[in-house]
Assembly symmetry: C2
Homo-oligomer: 361 residues x 2
């Protein structure tokens, strides 16, 4: 069989070592006689898995002690509603949420938040991240929402070492779904960070929320209990039965990340992989990427053929070479290569070789 490289934007490639271990442990986890799927979430076996996953994620991201890590369900999309439902309970009716609009995921967040609050688009661009000096913030806004990596548009925040400069007067809420764990961040700059797992963490169906503990307990009355951050935090993510198997796989990914050298090493690799791929795209005008260089995503690389009539031929040739799921999102067309942590540089090199071959270089 041709070696497969899977460039899906998510659910996405996972480390082979993780899948191999999961397969080996499927029927009997550590001599327990049970699959992880069959364990009571409150039993000692699963609790040990849960606590290790929480501890390893805390270590990988250097999450301060005054932040809780929640393992929830519903995906990043659900957080577009759950964040306002959880943060607006102590705000006056008609409170405003500021947004930085940088693409498709910001747009979804803005639309959803409009159900619960006034929304203000403080700055807008889908080919770059507007500089802070241009943000028109609302005095007294409940919080500022940003999507720090736009999966569809390929726009990634890249100032101040990858995260925005802290501002005492602004509460930052960040959707990091598609680049969490790929670069060093300073969690203390944020009030809330959330991420769907199915890009850089593990299987779809797990959602990570990292929240400063003074923000707990501010839910609106309409917030479902199963999604009330304080209830989830107070019950160690077991107010509801958590997605146990997904948490187990995420935990294996966290162990793999630590063994690889942690987030700093992932960032080094991500820079190298992205540089290799963008250089091939920039070599001439056969391919195009429309994002400002400083904000090009290291995780999601959208690109267009100058001659779009050849799109199908490009994809067919890629598939024949084991380069899978390169078709761009239907809303923007073109191509997209997602090169998450679990994508080895050999996969990016194989794609670059094909880019050059197809361009007749």
């Amino acid at each position: 069989m041709t070696h497969i490289y899977n460039f899906s934007a998510g659910p996405a490639v996972l480390p082979k070592e993780v899948l191999t271990q999961a397969a080996a442990e499927m029927l009997d986890w550590h001599g327990s006689g049970m699959s992880v799927m069959e364990m009571s979430h409150r039993g000692p076996e699963f609790m040990s898995i849960y606590k290790a996953a929480e501890r390893d994620l805390r270590e990988l991201l250097a999450v301060p002690d005054n932040y809780k890590i929640l393992f929830m369900q519903g995906g990043g999309l659900s957080q577009n509603a759950l964040v306002p439902l959880n943060l607006l309970g102590h705000k006056p009716a008609g409170a405003t949420i500021d947004f930085i609009y940088t693409g498709s995921w910001s747009a979804k967040s803005i639309k959803e938040a409009g159900k619960y609050a006034n929304v203000n688009i403080a700055a807008s661009s889908t080919t770059s991240v507007p500089p802070q000096s241009e943000w028109r913030l609302t005095p007294g806004a409940a919080y500022l929402h940003m999507c720090t990596n736009e999966t569809i548009d390929g726009v990634e925040y890249d100032f101040d070492g990858g995260v925005p400069a802290a501002r005492q007067d602004v509460l930052f809420v960040a959707d990091m779904s598609s680049h969490i764990l790929s670069r060093v961040i300073d969690v203390s700059k944020y009030g809330v960070i959330f991420a769907g797992a199915q890009k850089n963490i593990g299987p779809a169906g797990v959602t990570i929320v990292i929240i400063r503990d003074d923000l707990l307990g501010q839910a609106l009355p309409a917030c479902p209990s199963a999604f009330d951050f304080k209830l989830v935090a107070d019950n160690e993510s077991m107010y509801n039965t958590p997605p146990t198997y997904g948490i187990y796989i995420a935990g294996l990914v966290f162990q793999w990340l630590k063994a690889q050298g942690g987030v700093a090493e992932m960032e080094r690799r991500a820079k190298a992989k992205a540089a290799l791929l963008y250089a091939a795209l920039d070599l001439d005008d056969f391919y195009q990427n429309r994002v400002a260089p400083a904000n090009r995503s290291r995780m999601n690389v959208p690109f267009y053929l100058k001659d779009e009539s050849r799109n199908e031929a490009f994809l067919a040739g890629a598939k024949a070479r084991g380069l899978l799921q390169l078709k761009g999102h239907k809303s923007v067309g073109g191509m997209r290569a997602s090169i998450y942590n679990a994508m080895p540089i050999e996969g990016v090199q194989a794609l670059v070789d094909y880019l050059n071959e197809f361009a007749g270089r």
Copy 2:
């Protein structure tokens, strides 16, 4: 190793054949070169898995064409909020929901629904199901909520062939989390059926909703889009990224159920397993089950030792014999044996043998 029998109330035992197949396919599903966890949810590979799972569940439960099957996230608990959020949008403010209170799960549903509507407890008992003749229903109620099997209290509906008689004037909403697929039901009697997967369907993190299609499109404005039944239905459960791996495992369970003879065969086995276990509990007063015989659950069998000072000794002896997770729910104490579809009668016989041994019979 001692043969293990896992009596967990959920997450719970899964068929060995399902786990074996999942392990074998973990790194390469059907020659695709990908794990199911790595597949785009919109790609042809996962879509084929999804459609087969939906089709098989529809066949197993004989779901009529005018019902949608949704694969959601959040667990049965989340549906206590999501059902009112989805059904009350066309009702006047102050609408009433009727409830039949039969135990812990009804109690949670009642408490949660109170956030969104008036609630009326139309009938109440935690050791039997009140007969319909005693229900004090609210004229014009939005719907009637029932938990048709109480996982903690071991109370199961068992009139009219296992489901309540249809009433033209009442919209039935049923939480079937802990006995779905264990008995033949008539879906057409219900407006909405929901079930967390982690008892009789598959891994935690998948929630099944079966809804009559005229009930779609009635969400309250505060309902998060990711949990809006109409949006989920219109997008074949892919408005949000679904819990792909959990759906895959559920699909394998559905295939296993079909191969075993379907729901009618599961009902036959459940009756046999429950009869065997309750007979051992009823033999003398060493053990006690407090539920009215007609409403004793075939899935969750709570019981108490007459001499509760021996509880720890009972559990230790059970564990030594490979009979796991028999401790009762902390809210009610005692013991509980959950004997879902995937529990073979050999497991129940092993438990019965131990019950007799421990009682000195």
